[in-house]
Amino acid sequence: MRYISEFRDPVLARNMSQKIARAVEPGRDYHFMEFCGGHTHAIMRYGVQDLMPKSVHFVHGPGCPVCVLPVRRLDDAVELAERHQVILCTYGDMMRVPGTARRSLIRAKADGADIRMVYSTLDALQIARDNPAREVVFFAIGFETTTPPTAVAIKMAQAERLKNFSVFCNHVLTPAAIEHILNSPEFAPGGQARIDGFLGPSHVSAVIGSRPYEPAAATYEKPVVIAGFEPLDVMQAVLMLIAQVNSGRAEVENQYTRVVTRTGNRKAQVLVAEVFELRADFEWRGLATVLESALQIRPEFAAFDAEARFALSEKASREVKSCECPAVLRGVKKPTDCKLFGKTCTPDTPMGACMVSSEGACAAYWSYGRQRLPQDAP
């Protein structure tokens, strides 16, 4: 398959592996955070770690939008379906994530709530058209990759004057999260954890371009290399990061040139800016409250904002005690450091979002790598 097979070529992989082995300086350790859950997944699925020298360590980041959604917002979504009797449309990944008291969308659905899995916002719009007597809410999650489709859906709903469609908006922003991590005490010099550079997210960058990472790279003096999702992309990006670290550079480079440009998708950016505005702050699971890191729907589109249409109750939302998702999301702990991993917390009985989501670090470790278990010292 074009654009896929070439980037999984085992011969090229071996060459790349040898280049990386020659590039690392003896006696030096490299810690690179792959921000995006899709990268964690790719690394585990293809066994990329096996082709790296022992001195290269991957630190798993919070780039899994399902994982960083605070429990309270999931509880709100369950309430919309159960109490307000809407047709709640959601991406599949959210269905099994446990909320407070392990109540998930799939449990609520089994108890009779009308919750439907959709592949795109357009499916949700169609459901709204097909059910004019029912309220339809699209549960919008995701970083900048999924935000433009949500904007499209709202614009289309407006153009068609749909009276029964709204969006429960939980879109979050990548550069804000990266800055927040770099700002946190764990990663300050002398802190308990270390990051030497970032593998930048692939498809987020296709939308926003590589430019938004430049301020963080300059301020915190950490290189960012935007990498594609195929395993060879990851390896090439690691090689580029090693080169930067060795020469003391801290620039934003783009490995994923076949999809990402410096300015990104201008049309998508304009559309998103038209429909959404920044929230003053937003609570992220694991990162706590981050300023200007999430989007809300502009007042002009309030008719399509589920938070404006439905009164959501105050909640005392609770995580499972001992669930280390917050630490895993920040990159300070590995899934195997969590007491619950593999024991009470498995894909069949997930305690937190990191084990359920296909992009969660815990799920990736469980599905692909649990036979190797801890081999890296941090």
Binding site: M1, A13, G47, P347
Partner: protein, 336 residues
């Protein structure tokens, strides 16, 4: 009988039901035993060991590229018997029909069952029909139970599994699941992928003739190859290591899976089998499989190992290793 639909009288045991049986079931499935219209079908005494298997079919949609619920209900049960090395000879078929189900569709399904049964050389010797109210069924559910005989000397069993044995697959994986998915309402995409559903006992007979010391067979249906191998590893207390580069996947199935974010290893098959044999027999077994129409793309895909954790692992195409996990739930419900 092509007009009209099922109503509650068809399940009442009266004339309407009798006419339905005559005009659809007996018309297409008829054979000397079924035609006697007795409460049970008689089978002559057998000298060989008997094996019996049952399968419920609830697939949605009912009709898909390469088959339908009717042909599937024959292939599914025949294959369960074939995996024991049996020659299947008799089936029973129970139908649960929903009020309002189109008779034309029922006719089409039963014709398809009859074709599949003839091709597999099995007879439906007894059946049953029930009708449930509208909304209490999904068109039609079919349960088939099959009987077969295992020739003297054939012993295919999980207990024969040993470390060092080779693992083979009879052809490309993921075809059935993707074919069914392509017809699902909210997922429809254009493709020429057809279900691989087929009766495998002919292939099995050739394999046994070539390699009498065949250890075990299983057909990887729901959950795909990954689920089947994990089940086997767990039950046998052994490990399995696969070589991703050797696992046959059709190019369009691979592309569809990439698009949908699925792993072909987790996608259902209906006309494939996994075989375990002593390492030195793998090459002749492969030759025998490839000589048969249903084994053209057969391949040696791995080996059995000692492993206290009984994991299924895979050397990836890329050069690393990863676990082949057992999926927590169903990737897609009601695939067979």
């Amino acid at each position: 009988m092509n007009a009209g639909s099922i109503d509650m009288t068809h399940g009442g045991g009266g004339r309407a039901m009798h006419d339905l049986i005559r005009d659809i079931f007996q018309a297409h499935l008829g054979n000397p035993v079924l035609d006697r219209s007795e409460d049970a079908g008689t089978i002559e005494a057998q000298s060989d060991r008997l094996v019996m298997a049952t399968d419920g079919h609830v697939i949605a949609p009912l009709f898909f590229p390469g088959g339908d619920i009717g042909s599937l209900s024959v292939h599914g049960t025949v294959n369960d018997l074939a995996m024991m090395g049996a020659r299947p000879h008799s089936l029973t078929a129970g139908f649960i029909l929903e009020e309002g189900f189109a008779l034309a569709d029922l006719d089409r399904i039963v014709r398809s069952m009859a074709r599949a049964a003839r091709a597999a050389d099995v007879r439906v010797i007894s059946g049953d029909t029930k009708v449930v109210e509208r909304g209490k069924g999904d068109g039609v559910f079919i349960t088939t139970t099959g009987l077969g005989t295992v020739p003297e000397g054939v012993d295919l069993s999980l207990s024969n599994l040993r470390a060092g044995q080779a693992v083979l697959v009879s052809g490309t994986i993921g075809d059935h699941g993707v074919a069914v998915m392509s017809k699902r309402e909210n997922l429809a995409f254009e493709t020429e992928i057809r279900s691989d559903a087929a009766a495998l006992h002919g292939l099995v007979a050739e394999m046994l003739a070539a390699v009498p010391r065949l250890a075990m067979l299983r057909d990887p249906t729901r959950g795909g190859l990954a689920a089947t191998l994990n089940e086997i590893a767990a039950a046998a207390g052994l490990g399995i290591i696969l070589d991703e580069a050797e696992i046959p996947v059709a190019a369009d199935v691979r592309a569809a899976c990439e698009l949908l974010g699925l792993d072909p290893l987790n996608v259902a098959n209906e006309g494939k089998l996994v075989a375990f044999c002593p390492a030195e027999e793998a090459a002749p077994l492969l030759v025998a499989m490839r000589a048969h129409p249903l084994g053209r793309n057969a391949a040696i895909i791995g080996k059995v190992t000692e492993d206290p954790a009984h994991m299924v692992q895979m050397k990836t195409d890329f050069g690393g290793t990863r676990i082949v996990d057992w999926l927590a739930g169903e990737q897609l419900p009601r695939i067979c």
